[in-house]
Amino acid sequence: MMIFNPDPSSVRQMPTLAPDWPGGFWWHWLLFTVIIIAFVLLLVMGYIWLERRAMGRMQARLGPNRAGPFGLLQPVADALKVMLKEDIVPVNADKIVHLLAPIIAFAPVLIIFAVVPFANGALLADLNIGIVFVVAISSISTLGVFMAGWGSSNKYSLLGAMRNVASVVSYEIPVVLSIAGVVLITGSLSMNQIVLAQEIPFILLQPLGFLIFFIGGCAEINRSPFDLLEADSEIVAGFHTEYSGMKFAMFYLVEYAEALVISALITTLFLGGWRGPILPPWLWFLVKVMVVFFVMVWTRTTLPRVRIDQLMALAWKFLFPLALLNLFITGIEILAWPTAIAWLIPVNIAVMVILVLLWSKLFKLGWGRVEV
């Protein structure tokens, strides 16, 4: 028996499917659709609030504090304001593409939550290819972004969209490779099975994979320090330059919903998902998601923005080879010591530190003139 793999009998003891609701499948579908939409919309508002407040305090400011207690209603006020604004469409815009872009960017983000488990078996569809589904669907958002850039008939929008596509395509590879490490350990693609397999969180078994996934994930959703294509303090918004009113709100929503997706994925893949003592599973899930997002805000406040060449170099010269090495090492470990688990944790962390140090030494930009 491999200890990385969950024992099939122990899995069977815990029901992987939700209990049968009266009326069967459609009740299950309705309930989880409502839960997912409410979860995404509410947590996006919570994220916007948390980001602005936490970032404010880290910069020795207060952050929004006027609307409601502790400024909690500020996202609501913003949403109201943006809904009442005029919807401007450029004269030369490709009207249909311009209209469809925010919808196509937003829908996949909601769809991804269909396979994210909130508790044991509590998910819309326990697909046996869950994580592949996530990887496949999450790329569709990029299409929406590129449609926005193209449909606006604005060269800056198009440039922003092109850069976005370039960064997403580049960072997809290390992200998927680091997911593959987790899948190797679990032996299953189902998100629920991945959580069930985490007797100890995979962040300890896959520290390098976690690092790559976190950096790659942040880059893929264009969060600071990789937000150079919509750098809010420097340039106009990039691909959504020509958007206003509700359509702009959709893109804003997508931005934070994607951050929510990445933190939910990190929680599920590396932090043990809904598992945890005492508290109910869904609360553990929520707490972990919030902690991951706080780390994202933290890095955003701390790190300066990178240039486009640095962004690409980081993906191809740093994360990609490390992700390959990580996959290789994980494979060897699973083949050679399928039962050993405790002593692999310090070994893996040591391997991560050594690899990162060595690779930083080799990492050069611009014909080796500038060392980063």
């Binding site: 880290m58 020795a60 207060l62 933290w298 140090l357 930083s360 060392e371």
Partner: protein
């Protein structure tokens, strides 16, 4: 091997931002909270001491903007000038403080207040009684150290970050 380049620098930066999370914010919630201004502030109004003023109009001559207008009449019995009208168009005043420095009889002061925006253009022109000192028209310590000594110390934002919660 400098470890600053291999992640330690990032860790240090993260520590700094995390420390700031628990510091006191510098934000001043302006209409509710106000800082003490500098004691020698050149606030946006002039304060005129009617009794000390002799109507010599040195202030009007010094003013680079020419906004001070002094009209006097002659009191032949007492053998002196009587100030009929002392008018300042504060809309054009650049708060340079030259009139205060020039006044030979210490009859002009800068104001301590800085919230003197007006809704109408004619309100900006101030004449005779409107220029006198009163409870809400305090005199600034500009050019007059003895007035400055009576005013509260200026609050500095740097002190606000480090000082304890009130």
């Amino acid at each position: 091997m400098k470890f600053e380049r291999y992640g330690i620098g990032i860790a240090k930066g993260l520590r700094v931002t995390f420390k700031h999370l628990f510091r006191r914010p510098v934000t001043v919630q302006y209409p509710e909270q106000k800082l003490h201004m500098s004691r020698r502030i050149r606030g946006n109004e002039l304060i005129w001491d009617k009794d000390k003023c002799t109507g010599c109009a040195t202030c009007a001559k010094t003013c680079p903007q020419g906004v001070i207008q002094v009209i006097t009449s002659v009191d032949a019995v007492e053998n002196k000038y009587v100030v009929e009208k002392f008018e300042v168009d504060t809309g054009y005043c650049i708060s340079c403080g030259l009139c205060i420095e020039a006044c030979p009889y210490e009859a002009l002061y800068m104001g301590y207040a800085y919230e003197r925006a007006k809704y109408r253009r004619e309100d900006v022109i101030q004449t005779n009684e409107q220029l006198l000192p009163s409870a809400d028209r305090l005199r600034s310590g500009y050019m007059y150290p003895e007035i400055a000594a009576q005013l509260p110390r200026q609050t500095l934002l740097l002190e606000r970050i480090t000082e304890e919660e009130e």
